[in-house]
Subunit: 247 residues, 2 copies
Amino acid sequence: MSFIRNILKNSRSQEDGNFFLELQRILGFKPKKKNLYLKAFTHRSMNIRDKKGNPINYERLEFVGDAMLGSVIASFLYSKVPHGDEGYLTKMRSKVVSRQHLNELGKELNLIDLVISRIPKESFGSNIHGNLFEALVGAIYLDRGYKTCEKFIYKKVINPHVDIEKLEGKVISYKSLLIEWCQKEKKTFNYEIYEDTGNDALKHFSVKLSIDDKVVSKGRATSKKKAEEKASKRAFFAFQGQMTKRS
Amino acid sequence: MSFIRNILKNSRSQEDGNFFLELQRILGFKPKKKNLYLKAFTHRSMNIRDKKGNPINYERLEFVGDAMLGSVIASFLYSKVPHGDEGYLTKMRSKVVSRQHLNELGKELNLIDLVISRIPKESFGSNIHGNLFEALVGAIYLDRGYKTCEKFIYKKVINPHVDIEKLEGKVISYKSLLIEWCQKEKKTFNYEIYEDTGNDALKHFSVKLSIDDKVVSKGRATSKKKAEEKASKRAFFAFQGQMTKRS
């Protein structure tokens, strides 16, 4: 076992025994170069250095991960948005890899649970989530190469979160999109709304959306409008191929 | 043959018959998806559009190429500069992929000779060289994938042009580096200078650099200092492994 891996492993407490188990669950594959991942979850406050005195923490991996996200999203957008020029594609990419979005991605994966730090986790700003996500992407690239890294980005970023229509700002409301489609396809539609507070203190509404007299989706939220939008969005994704001819 | 490839090929005159021959010489491999390269050398002034009306020129490929250059250089610097933090690595990368450097790379490969345009080539600004280089890198990635693209970037950018010591601004003078090394290694050195104007109208100097009484390199320039620096630099690269312990 390498020198670096030894110090990194020793810095983790007994409770971190599940580190690689949890990591593998997130990655969907077994890490090979384990010290890269240990590094990706080591905060600078740990003040760990290698033999030559170089600091070991996730910050340098962020640099690599940021670049890989940039490349994978760039080639995705190149093929998905054939009408967009260079400036437009750049703008779309910066929406996908915005600080806020990266933070959401990191939070979703609970990456902060894996980090070791001398600073209490509660006192971190929200950017740590995105930074850890970038560092993890960097570690994956350096461990397994571009293809695996690309696959991970598709699985965690593009497939679940990147909606070209929304990015292009063309979808103002899923409800209007749905109604438009129904009219074009000569289908009937109906939003059935009822109060459904359930166990919540706040008033809630539920909606059943039927197309051609068949319930296709449901939505529940704190306002009628929001509930309708939720149900419409779900129906939109269910019928996606049929609703958008753009490819 | 695809619709796009047809229009792109028809836009090229008979003299462009050598396009793919010349391209293959630059690439070092045979292009597969030929229309990508035709696109990479089509200027927007040609005003070519696909069936759906989307403009076809190299600008969108620049976006992809820029991202790939960013990734490949990022992972190269990550491993070559272990002491550099995120900000430092970012700064170094921007030196490598600076507008000026990309223009030099494009010019070196004479990419402008391959472009088709309605604007006379003389009236282009110097940025076209760099833009074509980026577009070519983008086309290589989309044609052959990351590995081949990475190899191309190493061959054309990193190996011949990226000198970490210089980028770090640590080498102020190769002469001082060489003298320092000779002293450490207990070697004698000698710069033999003589006027060597040859066929030039301007006064020139030539230098022979000997180490342990053996001529190891030569340099010729318009000043003694410059000639010495040239010879030192050549010796430095000849002895590189021995002079720098950094890896």
